[in-house]
Amino acid sequence: MGSTKELARRSTVAVAAAFAALALALGLSACGDDTVGGGGNNDEVTVAKGGPVKGELTISNWPGYIDPGSKGTIAEFEKETGVSVNYIEDINSNDGFFGKLQPQLEQGESGGRSIFVVADYMAEQMYDLGYLQEIDHADLPTVFKSILPSLESPAFDPERKFSVPWQGGMTGIWVDTAKAPEIKSVNDLFDPKYKGKVTMLEELRETPALVMLAEGVDPAEASAEQWLNAIDKIKAAADSGQIRKFTGNEYTEDLTAGNIVAAIGWSGDASIIENENAEWRMPTEGCTQWMENMVIPVGASNTPAAIGWMNFVYRPEVAVDITNYVEYISPVQGVKELLEKRGSELAESEIVFPTEEFTSKCTGQNTPPDLERVNEAWQDVLTG
């Protein structure tokens, strides 16, 4: 008995000593350099180096955004240039990816990656924090020969100094037409009939924005209160069990498995949903539209190959293969004509080549006012 008590006493002393040491160390650190983070490498923007395209190239992208097969776009690039491409599909949400990489980017490293693909607002945020390199237009002749004129000067990067569009798309509703053919509006997703059979995206700029649109509120003009109202409505639906789950790309699995009848989702995901009844629909009150961009992070190990890749995917004959596989909106001119020449049905698709009329009610990806408060409320919903 005595030995046990002695042991317990000794471990208590040891724990106390450890905490004392910790407290002491904390006290010492208070005297030292006391700020971490905060866009430390902001002042020295580097320009990505061009040059001969060779070596190894690591690209981070979203799932289902390219044909990874042995006759796909990556294989073609490797064959032509001799570059060995390490293509990783590790982006599931803009915020999640940023959160994962931020500590490395802050140190001027990109974890070996030379290209990321992120949404406009995320590219802007990364650039503002000094995490991206600029790209000399002289190095991107094919890109600027082929890019759609409407994409040459976006508000977030008017001179396209640090971003090159990859693919664009729309966020709307995926419907399993065999189970819920009548769903047409985001409001229908709140119908108790579909309780537990609906998923929504985790992205702040998508789900609450679509709910606002459905209620007749323009997300581009909405106040913080209106964002919070939409978030409250979603929270109530989540609490009641109406919404099954908040997802990134995983909603495609739930649609494939037949777990859900409808989801808020991305227009081009037909290539990764194995359910022939699944159909992307433009919500009656409009969609959100977005463009995702290739960017070169600080610490990119092979910028010449990254630039080579950008030029490569802007060749119309390469871009048409990408479109054919991913079914998103291409930023490259002439894709539609090439598809028509091939006799592909995609040339007629409003999802791949949306007309202005088709997207007349759509909005961009808007950042809410009072972002921190709105985002906190949104994260509270996600971690119900």
Binding site: V36, G39, G99, G196, A238, R244
Partner: protein, 288 residues
């Protein structure tokens, strides 16, 4: 004894101590320091003894903390109920299949944790045979589901941490001196009495170790809730993940992690006191 000889135990402690300092004390220090900073990602985080981070990190998250206790506790209990008979059977009844069965317990580790959990997502999907069997048995309502419910998360936790319960129990049962059980029976105890008065107390160290090894990781787990849960199953691990990776509120995330560690430490201390330090330390003389 020369001073050199006296130093030997410390040299022997060296590698372990170095390991602890490098992988426990140093990270703890950085986390503790981070927990006392304020700021945002864009302005940077400044160290200024911000103790308010601790109460702040709890506000609005008590539900998830409670849920973590319930889920981890239930999973631990279920794991114990499954593991004890299994470990007992392997130790005493398996005969020449002993090694094979032990291998079967460890075999799932050859696949990564993540893949195994995702596999459960397929197994439990709404139209899967498993779910229709459960529906036929009326364990799940006809239009009900398993995936994206608390049940799925608890099942996932139980499954994933079960080997951590089985192995210490097995190690303990294997060493059990069966002559003591025989002696109890010779003294006219029933099988039940012999189990309750002899086997169970003697295997307490295994139970305590198994419970700790299961409960602690299950409490902090977020993968099961994320993959198998729905909108109402988030555990405290999911909150910490969201604070770190999505909201980038590093100080609050660090503060919450610290508090959870303290909480677990307190619970474990109480538990060990209750179960007896001797049982934890494997101090069998105390009981014998």
């Amino acid at each position: 004894m020369s001073w050199k000889q006296r130093l030997v135990p410390y040299w022997l402690l060296g590698p372990g101590l170095l390991w602890l300092i490098l992988f426990f004390v140093v990270p703890m220090y950085f986390m503790g320091e981070l927990a006392l900073r304020t700021g945002t990602l864009t302005t940077g985080f400044t160290f200024n003894w911000e103790w308010a981070n601790f109460p702040d990190s709890l506000s609005g998250n008590t539900e998830q903390i409670g849920r973590s206790f319930v889920y981890a506790g239930t999973a631990t209990l279920l794991a114990l109920l499954i593991a004890y008979p299994l470990a007992y059977a392997i130790a005493f009844r398996a005969g020449r299949f002993k090694l094979l069965l032990l291998f079967a317990v460890i075999a799932p580790f050859f696949t990564t944790y993540l893949i195994r959990t995702i596999a459960w997502k397929t197994i439990l999907s709404d139209s899967s045979p498993v779910v229709s069997v459960l529906q036929t048995l009326a364990l799940v309502p006809p239009d009900g589901r398993v995936l994206a419910t608390s049940g799925a998360v608890i099942a996932g936790l139980t499954y994933n941490f079960l080997p951590f319960m089985i192995l210490p129990l097995y190690a303990n049962l294997e060493r059990l001196d069966l002559r003591l059980v025989e002696a109890a029976k010779d003294l006219y105890s029933s099988s039940r009495q012999a189990f309750l008065k002899v086997t169970l107390p003697l295997t307490m160290p295994g139970i305590v170790a198994g419970v700790l090894l299961t409960f602690i990781p299950a409490f902090g787990d977020y993968i099961n809730a994320q993959i198998l849960g729905g909108t109402q199953q988030a555990m405290v691990g999911n909150v910490i993940q969201s604070l770190y990776l999505t909201q980038r509120d590093y100080p609050e995330a660090a503060a919450l992690s610290f508090l959870m560690m303290a909480l677990i430490l307190a619970v474990v201390t109480v538990y060990i006191r209750f179960a007896g330090t001797g049982a934890f330390m494997g101090d069998e003389e105390e009981r014998a």
